[in-house]
Amino acid sequence: METAVFIVCAAIVLAGALGVVLARNAVHAALSLVGTLFGMAVLFLNLEAHFLAAVQIIVYAGAIVVLFLFVIMLLGVDRLEDLSVEPITGQRVLAAIVGLGTFGLAVVFLLTSDIGARSVGTLTRDITDIGQYSNLRQIADVLFTDYVYAFEATAALLTISVVGAVVMSRRMARGDEAQEAAEDD
C-alpha cells in the first residue's frame, strides 16, 4: 500500500514540477505547483509527518500559491511566454549539465550512505490518535523547549517580512512617484 501511494505521489510531484518549469503561462505553472505541493503533503503523511502534511496544504496551497496567483492576476502577466528563444547562448546546455551533476552527486551520496538503504516502516499509528506520542505532541515538545528562541525569532521574521512587504508594495504619493520616475529616466 505504501509503495503504491509513493509511486502515485512521486509521479504527481514530478509531473507538477515539470509543469512549473515548462509551462508557458504563469497561471498554469502556479496550478502545477499546487499539484506538486499536494503530492508532497501525501508523501509527508506516508512518512508519518501528519502535522507538516496539514501545514503544507494550509500554508503552501492555501496561502503561498494563492498569493502567487493573486500577483499574477494583479500584474496581468498571464501572457504566454516564448520559451523557444534562449536568452543567453548555451544557457540551457549549461543548466542541464548543472542539473545532471546535482542529481548525480546527490544520488551517489545518498546511495552510498547507510541511511538510504534502511527500510521505511509501514504506517502503524492512527492519524486521529491524539495520545501522548502523537506527531503534533512530539513536535510541540521540542519546538517549545529546545527551539523556543528560534520559534520566537520566526515570529519576528514574519512581522518584519509583513512590514517590509507593505512598505515595498505601497503606492507612493503622486508627487514622489513622478519625481522618482524623473530621476529614473
Binding site: 509503495t3 509513493f6 508523501l43 500554508v59 502567487f68 500584474l75 527551539y147 517590509g164
Partner: protein, 100 residues
Amino acid sequence: MVTASWYLILAAALFTIGAVGLLVRRNPLIMFMCVELMLNAVNLTFITFGRELGDIGGQVSVFFVLVVAAAEVVVGLAIVVAINRRRPQATADDLSALRG
C-alpha cells in the same frame, strides 16, 4: 517495500528540476516557484532523514523552513510588484539597475 532512498532520490530529482528551472526561466514569478520546488525537496529530505534517525528535529526543521519560505515569498512578491509598477513585464534579464 519503499526504502528511504526512494524518498531521497525523489527529493534529489525534485531539487534538480527546481534548480534547472531557476537557471533557465526568466519570469521572476516562475523563478520563485522553482525556489519553492527546491525548498520542498529539502523538506522531504529532512523528514525522511528525521524519520530514519528517529529524531523529531527533522520535522521541526521543516517547520522553520515553511515559515522562512512564507516570509520569503511575501517579500519576493512585494519586490516583484514594486518592480512591475516601474517597469511592466520586466524579466530577470531586464533587472540590471544595480549593476556596477
